[in-house]
Amino acid sequence: MRMDLVLELLDVPGQLVSVIDPIGGLGANLVTIIHQRDIKNQKGLIPVQLTLEGERENLKKVIEKFKELNISILKIDGKVQKEKISTILIGHIVDNDIRDSMDKINEIDGAYVSGFNIKLDGEDKSSALINIEADFGKKNLIFKRIKEIALQKDLLMINEV
């Protein structure tokens, strides 16, 4: 079977080699590769299109290897890949219209709240963990938006490194 991938790579020597290198060893063949070094996306990364051929199991191994190497996979067979983002808010979350906060995150294109867990401490400040699923590359935009909400509602926001 064949599989189309869109990856994004840093513009540093050796990046493309690190992608191509494991393919053969995992029992897959490289059919086509489109790598235009002078075309970068908004994040300054280079999108690379690959078509691979091989047994389903071997193609799965290649995907796992790419993830292990921290290579961003934007699309598999045309399907946009999602990333999970977590953030914690501390403060008067419930009193500050919790529904409105969630709606504002869900309004971001390509992002939705997939998990919400809140712990209350009596009358004191509460703590909430928010899980968000988002299209690759949206992380900074989402953090910026949540920061705006946190500032507006006087909440402490704890982001991923």
Partner: protein
């Protein structure tokens, strides 16, 4: 054999560590670098000991510990302040280890500038003046053609400034992200393992002597912010000062937040971040099992480089002899270049 006359201003935990480390390593320095170190003056906030022929390292520590000051140092004790010591004594290298003052940078700043103008090399562990006057100090050192070293200002014994400037000199360093304060790392680690509240853990840390009686500088992120500024200037060449850092401390962190993070595979750490885009100190989520998953008072930093990828260093961020080890490294580097 070259002789180097050392003047030490500041005789608290770090100052005593410097004297002790010179005592422990002077023979090695003699053999390896053909240099003899002689401590000719030591001063603290209210007393001094000065002798052109050199002071005895062990006697300095003993006098301070038993009498509480240096004026009782046999024969050579006195009450000169830092500036008067620098005027009175002939020395080659100043080791400035006075306490950090984030308001004015004094008295360290004036002492260092005077040493530069007198043509002396300086090693410091003091963050205050560098966090608010980095450029002024570095420019003055260059103008006076003297060496100025401050490895000990960031994360005690953990090598980072010299490491980045000398060992990673083939690389462009894009960012530094790390745990730069041991006290807060201890508090957050204990809150994670014990499920205890912030205030109870802080009290316990104070009883153990890990947190200061006034913990503000640590828990409000001020100490980590000073280090962030020093890294920004010295490694990433960012002309920044303390007021440019976006600082949030850990005093609002709840045990509930830590528990929620834990269940989702994360830990909460006070993280300093230095890049051209961001200069901040704030509590952040880090993955369990990642390089940031470090307990106790340890410090760490990951340097993102263009050629070498991510390089992580870990080490003790505080302690008398540990911090003195970085000062002695700077001292040896000065001697090697002379």
């Amino acid at each position: 054999m070259k002789n180097y006359k050392i003047c030490i201003i500041g005789f608290g935990a770090v100052g005593k560590g410097v004297v002790e480390s010179i005592f422990l390593k002077k023979e090695m320095i003699k053999q390896e670098y053909d240099a003899e170190l002689k401590i000719v003056a030591v001063g603290d906030s209210s007393s001094s000991a000065i002798s052109d022929d050199g002071l005895d390292e062990r006697l300095l520590i003993e006098t301070k510990e038993t009498k509480g000051n240096l004026s009782d140092y046999p024969e050579f004790g006195g009450n000169l302040d830092g500036k008067d010591i620098l005027d009175k004594i002939d020395y080659d290298i100043l080791i400035e280890v006075t306490p950090t003052n984030i308001e004015t940078g004094e008295p360290g700043k004036s002492l260092i500038l005077k040493a530069f103008e007198d043509g002396k090399d300086v090693v410091t562990s003091n963050k205050g003046h560098l966090a608010i006057n980095y450029k002024e100090l570095v420019v003055s050192a260059q103008k006076n053609n003297v060496q100025f070293k401050f490895e000990a200002t960031v994360a005690g014994a953990m090598p980072i400034i010299n490491f980045a400037q000398e060992t990673l000199n083939s690389c462009n360093i894009e960012s530094i992200i790390g745990i730069l304060n041991g006290t807060t790392n201890y508090i957050l680690s204990r809150m994670t393992s014990e499920g205890s509240s912030y205030i109870n853990t802080l009290n316990e840390s104070q009883e153990l002597g890990i947190a200061e009686t006034d913990p503000t500088q640590d828990v409000e992120g001020i100490d980590a912010a000073c280090k962030t500024v020093i890294l920004a200037n010295s490694i990433l060449n960012i002309d920044a000062t303390y007021s440019d850092v976006d600082v949030t401390g850990i005093s609002d962190i709840t045990s509930e937040a830590i528990d929620l993070a834990k269940k989702d595979g994360y830990l909460i750490k006070l993280i300093g971040e230095v890049s051209k885009k961001s200069l901040k100190v704030s509590p952040r989520l880090v993955k369990q099992g990642s390089a940031y998953d470090l307990n106790g008072t340890l410090n760490m930093a990951t340097l993102k480089t263009d050629l070498a990828g991510d390089v992580t260093v870990v080490g003790k961020g505080a302690g008398s002899l540990e911090t003195a080890s970085s000062i002695l490294t700077d001292l040896i580097n000065i001697i090697r270049l002379k």
